[in-house]
Symmetry: C2
Subunit: 80 residues, 2 copies
Amino acid sequence: MKARIKITLKTGVLDPQGKAIQHALTGLGFAGINDVRQGKYIEVDLADTAEPAAREKVDRICKDLLANTVIENYSYELVP
Amino acid sequence: MKARIKITLKTGVLDPQGKAIQHALTGLGFAGINDVRQGKYIEVDLADTAEPAAREKVDRICKDLLANTVIENYSYELVP
């Protein structure tokens, strides 16, 4: 079972990487870019096949290692 | 209109960041982690409201700036 995890900065948290991308896009001539936010995308391939167990494990993985829950949100989807 | 862009390394391209995460998870006591791949997640808020125009713009943004198409794949979804 695979978990596709998205980690994003919470609203209100400054995102200098996103701002740099936005600035670069404007510099490249792209118009109408209101905002850019950068996050992380992580795919974890789990040996577990039962969804409740996998869900519980991915939650713990996100909280313990991948996301800093003070400033970041995480969401994920499980695919077989 | 918002574009949610996922950029991932192509299969076969070495991913040391992913390997580091996998190693750290095993070290933390998580069992059954077969593989971890790290990518990027970028949200772009566009002024465009028409989907075909937005799609064309996001494709160009990905190819010109965000993704290195030699070693990375990108995919995205548009949300109103």
